[in-house]
Symmetry: D2
Subunit: 358 residues, 4 copies
């Protein structure tokens, strides 16, 4: 029986408590929040739970095995450090920390004390993402060309982070999970229209093997969009997380350079050099080189189990077995490094070479 | 009666001939294309027209007043120059030229000979774009925040230009038309997965007054998208060019920084500095500063007249009156400069400061 | 303080308890369900509540002022009757009863004992429906032409009622609310493909003033649809309840018979009689008579307050004031009569003349 | 070389001329229309064609092998009869004739003279319909449950037919093609809001084997819809003809009555009779009987060839081979009979037993 303390009971905290409570082999024994108003509700829903406004009471409680840190990012380092120092495993909200130095220190600390850190990149347990991972790893898409995400809506403005730290961690974690490589280059552009903090940003990440990723994150969009295109050599897919069903659509569509005979290639080269085809005769030449494929579309059934339920189960299993989770502190660190690089590029208005960490 | 010669009768040429032919006061007298196969069709549709495979025959014909250049971009400079030298007005496909130096030379030549150049940025005559222009100029949106376009599909690969020169001219011309300012900065990122030419690109343009523009252009998308968000301080809109009706949706949605009393601001600052609100109490603070507005949505009726028909009419009117069109050589040059800057940024992997030209 | 007993704690019961519990001036004091499994959950969520599997304990409890009957329709009559006989107001699920005779008896009983009956036609408190009611009553749509609803999905099969009694009450209540007239004719067709009970049905209702209503209800549809068209002389609207935003779209579209001059009419008549226009010349004649209007579309902001919350408030207010609710037993009876007529038509395979009741 | 005369050059005529002209082995030699304005255009597009305003000139021309009758329905009988009497094959617009008696007379005449009649049910050559036919015939859907079509838009009002004769022939022809049976019953309801002619109608057709068809046709809808559901025992599909791609979506979804053990069935029966499960315990019982299946969705690639091009080819082939087309006069007659039955039901306000004809 793992006994969990939950620090932070704002927007996400109740979901954490509900999902861990419902796991066999786990009991939420304490909830902590600065705001006394949230206690009544938490206690009425979870009668036996201790409530406190002092995080230290959770950290020092001898009957607590693990702590879930569900607070704003600026507090993650302090709270996680305290928990680890007192021998508790940590389940911490994304982004892991506010700086990569903090993340590295926490990873080292956890390793030394033989404790687990799991960073709550919930989307990695989402049915659509797991299906996409399966398609990528199974070679269905072929070698990846790109990952292109649009994640925009009106607000919610955060008081302490810009739109990159608020919205980009989801996609960065998914990209890290799907591609499994460190980016070579991060370029971010953006704008700040209201209070000096970036409220919209465009982030490009260049990965080895000519894989490109792009994120469009925006707090000032009149419509909510959660659309991701993933292109591969053999197939391409669209993941629309707002579709009630058919969230993932796989297209048997592609482009390939035709294996033109050498004479064709030579003829093309001659034509280009001679500029003889300049007047309106493009299509014929173009047909020599590129061919398109357009077949069926297929929307695989996507598991609808609540992602956080699977993740809570996985946390309990990792604590029990001692096995490192794939969304451990190092995974969290990689995301923080990409966020830092994007921030730095935004500030310096130029691309940032990303220092690999794995 | 303006007599027009059309050079290039490939994909777009037939539309040019059809739309100019149907204008009162205009007659298409000659069609030129290298490809003899296209003649039969052109002649059967337009019985009285002369057909030739030699552009010079069009350029030197004394009965021709104006020439439409409907060929690949690499030939625009030569053909336009010849036409102007022989005293003919020119209607030329976008992008205007392959380099800004060429564009400048042609503008100078036309001015000297008192001839018109109109660059065929057809989208400026599209009903949705004209409606958006009306909303922006009428102050309905308020000061602009951003223009964010997604223009992606599978192919068509061009043999002589990359995806930026193929797809971006549409949005760059619209942006130039709506914003009326030169960008201060152009940043482009992208990838080339097939034949060494960029097949997908992301272009950010920073304009004065904190206006941001972004273009997502991609030849490797499994689905076709033509979606543009335009955000302003007072209202925001979505233009989906693939919607059969309701192409433009205007949202009475917005965000504003609340005029908090000084004490609130001070209290907020204190809280932030004291870090007393770190545990789960974000929303209350955040409410002090930002408020959202969410009202009706409104889809104004959009004129469905074929854009090229209006543009052909406008060309004839400008030639008759001698008035400079708003989509003249200078407008074409501004688009070419933005294309060059994007290309350069893509190559150098860094942002390019854009040299203003107007 | 109104004290409520809730009988039935299956699919909908928890919503009833939650919404009434959260009203000031109301306390849920007892919950009854045959199934002992549901008790634990109900008690943990609502610690002070009495739980029982015997409905009579609720009916006879002296501290209970009103009873919510949230059970299958076959039990509504018995339970409601018991509650009324013991002097309790009743909030009863739709459809009100299994027969109109039962409904009439209950109405008479409640009137005699001066008690309230409210039938839970929740959709009448839905933001979209209230907005449509406002548009109809305000004359925005003009005189109504039709109400056309598609309400289809896969399952849920009911063990005791056919698809008409399961899905049609929603629209019948809305139609009764919007039109305020009794139908003159009800025609239903349908099919039973699995267990002998109708699993899909089409119901037409003809109202005075040439108003037509149609319902398409289907348990065997591969996709879920909740789309209603409402046509009026001046404007028409589409209500798509599955849209996350823009649920109601009002179209400035219409058709009208042109006020043709008498000579035109006469000429038309002559033409028709002479059959001189038979070969391909239809459009010209047709233009004489009908003209279309196509203007803006407008999606008014729709209140997102949970419907059941408003309805619970309204029940408490009606009990307090003694005012008859608009969704009283008589409204419930009108819906039951339409259901009976549809059932009868389905069985007899012919239209049924509806006996008005108000 | 088949020489074709085309009578009627209004809305659809130009498509007929264009598609037959482009077939090898066919030449359009004459075009006839009462309206002189349409001649100029027809002649400029098809220089060698004879034009006339007198249909008899086409009918009596010795060099004409076949006639396409592309006029309003009220003229089909007269024109087709004349053409057949003069030994010409006939390609005639749908609906075939205004009455079934006329259709029967024409079929008999054509048979006697050994001539072909093809009724232009263009949709039978549409890629989506051919794909659906393939899925039905291949057993992919399993035994059919229903065909449910919504075909609504604003206008076009016809001067000589009601909405049933205007919009329903499409679906009736498709239903006849897919199901291959005569309906046992036709029930239609509808309304006439403008000029006394039905402008909206709902038609149910009951076929043997418990197959149900329903058509929703409406000239007064603010939005255009072309959505058809086809349900089968094994799979179900949605055909949305307005989707630019993915017109047909096949769902691996279904419902089946579980083979419950006899004791379960008996227990259920006992429960129902004893009414012991009345309070909120429905789901458990219901689980005994019905189970749902929800798997992948699949959108097969649909051939985009213009339907009329395939149909023109088929007409030429049938004339050449003497083989009866599947869309012959008898197929046209079956559609006319269903239209008559719907009209009659609408008028008499009751269901009509359909007299089989094949």
């Amino acid at each position: 029986m793992l006994k969990l303390g939950v620090v932070g009971y704002g927007y996400w905290g109740p979901n954490i408590v509900r999902n861990f409570s419902s796991q066999p082999g786990c009991r939420v024994v304490a909830i902590c929040d600065k705001n006394p108003r949230v206690f009544a509700q938490a206690l009425s829903r979870h009668p036996g739970v201790r409530a406190t406004s002092n995080p230290d009471e959770v950290m020092s409680a001898p009957d607590i095995d693990a702590v879930a840190v569900v607070t704003p990012v600026s507090t993650h380092y302090d709270l996680t450090k305290k928990a680890l120092e007192r021998g508790k495993h940590v389940f911490v909200e994304k982004p892991f920390t506010g700086t990569s130095a903090q993340a590295e220190e926490l990873i080292e600390l956890a390793d030394r004390k033989n404790l687990q850190i799991m960073v709550d990149h919930t989307f990695l347990f989402n049915g659509a993402v797991r299906k996409i991972k399966e398609l990528v790893d199974g070679g269905v898409l072929g070698p990846l060309y790109y990952y292109d995400s649009t994640r925009v809506n009106l607000g919610l403005f955060q008081h302490d982070v810009n739109v990159i730290w608020d919205l980009a961690p989801h996609d960065l974690a998914i990209i890290d999970y799907l591609i499994g490589l460190d980016p070579e280059l991060v370029v971010a552009t953006g704008g700040a229209h209201l209070n000096g903090m970036a409220d919209m940003a465009y982030i490009t990440l260049c990965f080895p093997n000519n894989i490109l990723a792009h994120l469009n994150v925006n707090w000032l969009s009149p419509v909510k969009m959660r659309t991701t295109l993933v292109g591969g050599e053999r197939k391409m897919l669209v993941w629309n997380d707002l579709e009630p069903s058919e969230k993932v659509k796989v297209y048997d569509k592609g482009v390939q350079i035709t294996e033109a005979h050498d004479e064709s290639r030579q003829r093309l080269k001659d034509l280009i050099e001679a500029k003889v085809f300049e007047v309106g005769s493009g299509p014929a030449i173009h047909d020599l080189l590129v061919s398109y494929r357009s077949g069926d579309m297929w929307a695989p059934r996507v598991d609808q189990t609540e992602a956080l339920q699977l993740e809570a189960r996985y946390f309990l299993d990792c604590v029990a077995s001692g096995e490192k989770p794939f969304n451990d502190g190092r995974a969290g660190l990689r995301v923080v490094k990409m966020l830092e690089a994007a921030d730095e590029s935004l500030k310096r208005r130029r691309e940032i070479v990303y220092a690999p960490s794995r």
